[in-house]
Amino acid sequence: MTEFQSSATSGSAVDMLGIVKDFDTFRAVDDVTLKIQPNEFFTLLGPSGCGKTTLLRLMAGFETPTTGSILLGTKDISRLPPNHRPINTVFQSYALFPHMTVAENIGFGLKMLGRSRSEIKVTVDEMLRLVRLEGRGDSLVTRLSGGQQQRVALARGLAPRPQILLLDEPLSALDLKLRQSMQIELKRLQAETGITFVFVTHDQEEALTMSDRIAVMNAGKVLQVGSSRDIYEHPADRFVAGFIGETNFLQGDLEAVDGMSGTVRLKNGVRVSAGLSEEAPRHGAITIVIRPEHIEITDVGAAGSIAATVATVVYFGTDTHIHTHLADGTPVIIRQQNRRDGSRAPQTNALIGLVLPLGASQVLRD
């Protein structure tokens, strides 16, 4: 019995509506509603155990949701077995069939779909070209390097031209260099094939580089969905702000609200202007977040600056990290790009002034 549901947002590739997944007493996915657009590179980002892989397995069909439904276009697929879903997966361990050649692996899905031998051959050759493994079709997959196995796994998932390709931390087993080149490769493949990619990772840098949109997850819930820039520059809450990149949190009171920004009085009396998202509180004690590279250093006592004591200065090549603390002990990190003129970094134990530029800080949701 296939259930059809009319959906107002029939433009999405995947619609997840109120998905809950319980394992015995553990709630892995907690009321997740997500819309993934067609032809999108969508990333599920979160720490291990946040439910992102379970969400992926629900889409693939290896798990069935406890409640809620998954729509593919307008069709409810949440209770279909994996082989009845036009969705393919690239597994974390690649899961290449060790007893088959590269070509047999890539052609497996088409063979199961009952395609003709000639059609399979044409598609396999095309896929081999796409992932740059021409001429390796007859190799045993066990003879390939990690990076090559990764490409075969991708080609195998793409060969049946699924509506969605799910990628479960596929780069985690590769070393840094290879991972970086595969990130670019994945973007290219997604653009060339026009298939919607749903990518799962715990690596925030990977997510920021590759994704059109990112959903940040923690404890089974989706905390924020948005573009890389959105998520990085306007984190919705403390978890997102802390998980993505290094950041500073400062306590204060929201004194005045003016549309999408507000005036915050920090503990030491300095007033700063901070951005306000729709979910952010409109009054009372709040936390603001500011990225280390957005803080400017000035002389102590300069107007509108916050006094801070330098604790440690760490040289990083491209930039220098200055660890400071405010009078009340709040730690603040500042990142300064290193210039050729060798602009002086402050000395340890020096007293400096910190300036939070207009619009660089953001009030967090509770």
């Binding site: 069909g61 082989n83 393919n88 997966t89 361990s93 069939f97 060790p98 899905g109 199961m112 066990t142």
Partner: protein
């Protein structure tokens, strides 16, 4: 102690005398077999006699012995049938107790499947003797060789089951997920992915089942009817009469068949264990 460490790298694993004991151990295990095999080529007609020259006459006379020949055919046929049936049952059982979610009673099923291993053969033998007698008293069936086949299949199941189960457990379940993800039905997943990968386990288990059935003496002796003489039973009746050099040849032949299957099983299970 310091003295032992003065030359080159210290071998922290070495324990004095252990190598000697290991060598004695191998000697103890193999010498009797080697002696019996060597004497099967001794030309002397008296079994305890000194070496009188090389001959293969005893093999010729063993192979020309009609009773020995019949017993060998029965043993091989029985072992083959027991191997096929027990391996099929064991493969199904191993699939049922390893893949996917655990089910209620799975541990009980595992314990039941392996019980034949912990019941002494003599107890199994008299149990089956009593059981078949009771069944024959209730309903008038003549099991004939069926008795032997049923008994052999039953005690072969765990020997076939364990290697297959081990192989399945060592196999990444994601492979089957991947097949399902690539549109394979449950049967296609089994046919194209699970089965080819578990073949080494099945072959190894089948070889063990064959040996165990082929070598069985105690249970078979207790339940075999007249005329149902397997190779071990035949050799036993022969040594009750007299030890002759021909028996050495027969024993050596019997060992050879076991060896082939052991080495086969070992080689298969070691090969390509990814």
């Amino acid at each position: 102690m310091a003295k032992a460490f003065t030359h080159g790298t210290a071998d922290v694993k070495k324990q004095p005398g252990f190598a000697v004991i290991a060598a004695i151990c191998i000697a103890v295990l193999y010498l009797p077999l080697m002696i019996i095999a060597t004497y099967s080529f001794n030309a002397a007609s008296n079994i305890g006699a000194a070496w009188k020259g090389f001959t293969i006459d005893w093999y010729a006379s063993a192979l020309q012995n009609r009773e020995f020949y019949d017993a060998a055919i029965l043993s091989i046929g029985l072992a083959f049938a027991a191997m096929v049936i027990s391996t099929v049952l064991a493969t199904a059982a191993a699939l049922g107790t390893t893949r996917g979610k655990r089910w209620r009673g799975q541990t009980a099923a595992f314990v039941t499947l392996t019980t034949p291993l912990v019941i002494p053969e003599i107890v199994t033998g008299i149990s089956l003797l009593a059981f078949f007698a009771a069944v024959a008293a209730l309903i008038d069936i003549n099991f004939g060789l069926g008795k032997l086949l049923i008994a052999h299949v039953t005690f072969c199941i765990p020997f076939a089951y364990l290697p297959i189960k081990a192989r399945l457990e060592g196999m990444d379940e994601t492979l089957e997920n991947a097949a399902a993800d690539l549109y394979a039905t449950r049967w296609q997943t089994f046919r194209y992915v699970t089965l080819p990968l578990v073949v080494p386990g099945i072959s190894s288990g089948a070889a063990l089942a064959f040996i165990v059935s082929f070598d069985d003496f105690t249970i078979t002796q207790l339940i075999a009817g007249p005329g149902e003489t397997t190779l071990p039973l035949y050799i036993y009746t022969r040594i009750r009469r007299a030890l002759t050099p021909e028996i050495n040849a027969m024993c050596t032949l019997l060992l050879m068949i076991s060896f082939i299957f052991i080495i086969l099983s070992f080689a298969i299970s070691k090969r390509r264990s990814q």
